[in-house]
Amino acid sequence: MKFIEVLIAEAKLIFTDVAIVLTIIGGVILYSFLYPQPYAKESVSSLSVTVVDLDKSNISRSIVFKLNATPQIDVVRQDNSQNDALDALEHTLVKAVVIIPAHFQRDLTLGVSPTIAVGADSSYFLIYGSILEGAMRAVLTEGAKIKVANLLKHQMPLSGAKDAYTPFSINSINLFNKNNSYTQYVIPAVFILILQQTLLIGLGIFGGGINERMRAGEYGIYRDAKTYQLLLSRVVIFGTIFFVHMLFYFGFSYENFHITHIANIVELLTFGVLFLLATVMFGIFLGSLFSSREIATPVILFSSLPLVFSVGFIWPLEAIPSFVHTIALAVPVTPAIHGFLELNQMGATFEGIREYALILVVQIAIYGFLGYYCINKNRNFNEQV
């Protein structure tokens, strides 16, 4: 049988299957718009805070003003007592309470270092950190002002005092994703996961469906063609569709959501092709194991959350038990996310991600072999029955 006949017959099977088309075309496009939605505003907007100013002095007012001026904090109310403030917190009117103690200004003048108390809701991920950052910034600025003023009192000239208030300072630079954008953080990784999962589901439904038909004794190309022809035709069909998807994601979607893309295009696509090949081989192998069409969607779906968190881009690899990461490395998405992020987001060279490329090559070989072996076995088994 000619390869082109196999290719056409398989393409017919794939494109007349609504569930597969819905997943590998509809799903891929839909997800590319749906997933970035929560982060569309990119970073956390300012958080509501209440202040209890028990001092009501010039300096306490200046601190409230500085708090409000930080991008993280929005002073929405002032309460007269700690209880009122905590009440507002419990009714989720505010996310944090700032308390400036009585005699604040007096203590400052006496040099006994009064303390500002901040209590913040830490139930949510970014809220606490942001408020802490804002409060620190406001207090440090005010503190520096006071120290400079003290130095001036000791006859130091202003130009000197501006430097002398601290022995050295910190210059903090964000190397990549400079604005701490959540879109930049989550989307480049999640997109790789979406590509993998939809591809696996598509191949899983397809493979399971063929197993069903073979069991039912239906006649079809999957019985006539040679195994390597079947394998190759699936690589060509699914590979081509997802190569287009990949161009759509890395090109259109990245532009659309303003995501950094600094990789060299040849390097990016070379790595991309390795990723797609590994995923197609993995999908063919998984599909050959599923006894029916409907097993793929649930199995792949359940794996998504555990997979995305074992990759190591959210929670650091150093804190994940190593056996978890080793399991995850068997799935193409793990080396792929690392490789793509380093190439396209962090500006590494292909040389730098060689290891991940190598893992993908090994996966292509192993899953290719397993897929071939299992399809062969399924066919022989059904021939005999």
């Binding site: 939605q37 139930s123 207090v139 903090s172 969607t297 929670w315 150093e318």
Partner: protein, 380 residues
């Protein structure tokens, strides 16, 4: 009528017993995925995160600064290099999460009171890791600056308390309410488990009805009598199991692991029960669009898979756009999650939770169109 319910209920139990696939969906798979997520975050805190340093001064002060950094639990100086480009290379390939560079003449400039700058370069592509590393580095370096300043002040004041107070004229005391900030286990796992749990409820419901229709046995099973009762009876075994799984993860997190739970378990468990029914109703709504097994699974996947991102636990709801808030409201689990957090952390009374409970309960109204679609299908 009750006979129809119990007929369907026991019929379904029999089906489950005969299908390893459904048994796995109800037991092994949920428990395995819960376990996997728990294991990933079990440590809860990140320690010894690798960083790289470039010390261009090599004085006793620069060594002191680096020593203090290495002494923190959070970061570890894994690499010491002499030039920035090789340091950058380590960050680009994720071998180090940050660079600390100490300028040349660091000590001399300190003595001359010229305020030299220690440069900290962070990999903020990984926002969470970047934040953890940044907090640890800034704290440690500021502490080192304080040490130097203390010694300097001591020379002039000859009084240790006075020299300390002069370093930080204003103290800052930060109290995290409800969750000790640096532990991410509670943050993530308490939201991840419900997110994966809701996927199971939807999938199992569709599997149960899908296999019946795919095998063409629906008329035999429903025999066009008491259709509504039979739908409920068929759902009920799953309602029980997923309710118990829901109770299980809450009991595990707040009971076994002992995280603080301020509120009422009764209210939370009631919400879990309503959430299971809500998802079963929505799953059937997907199913009746075409009574097609594979296609309704795809719909269920689109609906449940992205839920975690919309919960508002990782990214605050206040910062989401209108569409996301709308989509979030369409997911029972987001209302459940709000309730779980407010019960666990704030311990508010049931009257303040009524809106959330009502929101979850409303999803079961989907059973009305489901009922009519089934009737139409089976009797038409």
């Amino acid at each position: 009528m009750f006979k129809a319910f119990s007929f369907a209920f026991f019929h379904e139990l029999q089906e489950i017993k005969n299908s390893w696939y459904r048994l796995i969906l109800l037991t092994l798979l949920p428990i395995f995925s819960f376990g996997f997520l728990v294991v990933i975050f079990y440590k809860g805190v990140a320690t010894e995160l690798p960083i790289v340093v470039v010390d261009n001064d090599k004085s006793d002060i620069s060594r002191r600064v680096l020593f203090n950094i290495d002494a923190t639990a959070t970061v570890e100086i894994k690499y010491r290099v002499t030039d920035l480009s090789s340091a950058l290379n380590l960050v680009q390939t994720s071998q180090a999460y940050a660079i600390v560079e100490i300028p040349a003449h660091f000590k001399r400039d300190i003595l001359l009171q010229k305020q030299p700058k220690v440069t900290v370069m962070l990999n903020t592509q990984y926002i969470l890791i970047g934040k953890i590393v940044k907090a640890a580095l800034l704290e440690s370096i500021m502490h080192s600056a304080g040490e130097v300043e203390y010694l300097k002040n001591l020379v002039t004041t000859q009084n240790s308390e006075e020299s300390i107070n002069a370093i930080t004229p204003i103290g800052l005391q930060v109290t995290p309410f409800y969750n000790t900030y640096k532990n991410y286990f509670l943050f993530l796992v308490s939201a991840l488990l419900p997110s994966i749990w809701q996927i199971f409820i939807v999938i199992a419901t569709i599997v149960s009805f899908g296999t019946l229709f795919k095998a063409g046995r629906e008329r035999e099973f429903f025999s066009s009598e008491y259709i509504g009762m039979k739908i409920l009876g068929k759902l009920f075994p799953y309602t029980i199991v997923y309710f118990l799984l829901g109770v299980g993860f809450v009991a595990y997190i707040y009971g076994t692991l002992g995280w603080v739970f301020q509120g009422s378990f009764t209210v939370t468990f009631f919400a879990i029960f309503l959430t299971v029914i809500a998802y079963q109703s929505v799953a059937l709504l997907f199913f009746v669009t075409g009574f097609d097994y594979a296609r309704s699974l795809s719909l269920g996947a689109v609906y449940t898979a992205p839920a975690f991102a919309f919960l508002g636990v990782t990214f605050p709801v206040d910062s989401m756009n209108g569409f996301s808030v709308f989509w979030r409201d369409l997911l029972p689990v987001s209302h459940y999650m709000e309730l779980q957090i407010s019960q666990a952390n704030y311990g508010v009374d049931i009257f303040m939770e009524l809106d959330k409970l009502l929101a979850i309960a409303l999803f079961s109204l989907a059973l009305i169109p489901v009922y009519f679609r089934f009737k139409q299908r089976l009797q038409g």
